[in-house]
Symmetry: C2
């Protein structure tokens, strides 16, 4: 099938750029040094490609991602890097035929996990981002509590999400090291083999931080937000639209904000400058003459929520459609 | 079922507020004076409630919305208030057992509609928002072209979307009247019975504009964006989350940006102040003591894309869950 035969808006993965991104990351963090984050794509077929690149441990943000990965048989070590107290979802994860580990940061999350059949946990540590995670000086006591509840405490995790976009690499490195010193202190008190942290924005800053697995996800497909950081990963994700209206000075494509993650602002567009997005439209100033029926490739500002808005992604090489990958891990 | 038994994040419709919103609108615009916009909810069950309130003509933004409404048997007059040149989707709409009308603003959209079995159109007129729509002085010629192609030209539509948020009602009214003068001029040249325009933000400003049907959608459920406009509609939509982490000074709920339309910025939250949203979290400063496992209701900033992120909405009265409405018109 030719890419121009796809109904629009169509989520497109550039197969060559995607393959290069996976190879680049696997050179820096081979095997279990990377725990790819499934939330960035919500797609078991894409995760299977990451597994083929050598990574068999995965990070998830929702129970549904864990359950879907487990049922698809992708990965041998699934981490819910998030807190939940939902008994039914904890039991569904515990019932999988794969090692499942959940993050805990409170007595309530420990009790919910232990009461519903979960056997392994990481202590989630606040390393500076005001979100989940126990204060570092309370991590040891929480680990003791988890062990008393019967959980295997495999180590610690932290997420320095507030540092992904620090503009200067030198500044970023210094701040990551300070943040990870908190995680190391917590790890000293907690024990276990795993020190898990990081993301695409800090993937190459963990040489001396003590972190032994990096939870990057966006590197595989990228977006314009991460694209400004000078990372060695290429834009591999596009939303192809059809030009549905042309006026003097602007054109409109049928890729709107219901096809795009908008929390990082407007997308970009090849062949023009974006003015604004509506539910089902992007208005832009084209840089070349366009006619109704032409195609226009929109580049999302944020990959993760963009993937979550589509049923499937089309894997493309040049103009040829190679495969259709269902986005099968949407929802919770 | 009790609302606290729902797995979170859960999309909740307050049945009483919703009923009052429908009644308020039906008093101002009874029957065909309102052509409710399906894009605001993407839910045939909700559209059926609008039909029960007296409205049987509907506005849609995507072919899938038209096809889904037609197959569900809701509405007797479905308008695609948007342009498409997709032959398969045009044929799917043409094959429905219901009157389908599409917007056209170019030779290409006329030809595509006529070639694929569509029989009725409105001429879409640019009334000031740089998006779709033909220039007003070209509307008459386009109508002639559509009639020559065999289409029944039922009239005109315009969308004064750039005026929905003009803060002062007096200013808004003056600008809407100027914008609709363009639509009236176009209608004089086009002919037909329909002059369709408007939205929730201008629903009560069309007394003297010549518009004879208003395309409002958000009024049924509302959001914080429209909530600032002093409209007589109540917030009826919430995303209920579970508190999954509590720290000194903040708490985290499991309603994240993948459960919320983010193009109008952060949501609000009952019982606190939102700091920021992540994929699966909202961090907020609670205004009362919260514990892990408590529920927290998040109020979306933009209703339309929020609905599109969920499989279903739960209709609730007080703490009782009355019904589950599938969001069955997602996608394109």
């Amino acid at each position: 099938m030719h890419v121009n035969e796809l109904a629009t808006p169509a989520l497109i993965i550039d197969a060559d750029a995607f393959d290069r991104n996976l190879a680049t990351m696997a050179r820096v963090h081979p095997g279990r040094r990377l725990r790819p984050h499934v939330k960035a794509h919500k797609c078991t077929a894409l995760a299977a490609a990451q597994q083929a690149a050598g990574h068999s441990s995965f990070t998830c943000a929702t129970p549904l991602e864990v359950v879907g990965m487990g049922r698809a048989g992708v990965g041998d070590d699934l981490l819910l890097a998030n807190e939940t107290v939902d008994p039914a979802r904890l039991r569904a994860m515990a019932d999988l035929d794969v090692l499942v580990t959940v993050a805990v940061d409170s007595s309530e999350t420990i009790r919910a996990a232990a009461d519903n059949g979960i056997r392994s946990c990481l202590v989630d540590v606040n390393v500076g981002l005001p979100r989940c995670g126990v204060a570092p000086d309370r991590a040891g006591a929480l680990a003791d509590e988890a062990r008393s509840a019967g959980l295997d405490v495999r180590g610690v995790m932290g997420y320095e999400g507030h540092l992904m976009m620090v503009p200067e690499r030198t500044d970023r490195l210094a701040q990551v090291e300070a943040s990870m010193a908190l995680l190391r202190d917590a790890h000293d008190a907690v024990g276990g083999d795993i020190v898990s942290a990081g993301g695409t924005g800090t993937f190459d800053l963990h040489g001396d931080t003590g972190v032994n697995e990096v939870q990057a996800g966006s590197y595989a497909l990228m977006d314009t937000h991460y694209g400004r950081q000078g990372l060695p990963f290429e834009q591999a994700l596009f939303v192809v639209g059809t030009v549905i209206s042309v006026s003097d000075g602007w054109a409109v494509t049928d890729v709107g904000l219901k096809a795009l993650g908008m929390d990082h602002g407007n997308p970009s567009i090849r062949d023009g400058e974006v003015w604004f997005c509506s539910d089902e439209h992007t208005t832009f100033a084209p840089s070349r003459p366009l006619r109704v029926g032409d195609r226009a490739a929109v580049i999302p500002a944020h990959v993760d929520p963009t993937m979550a808005m589509h049923d499937a992604a089309w894997v493309v090489r040049g103009d040829e459609v190679l495969d259709r990958w269902p986005i099968d891990l949407r929802g919770w």
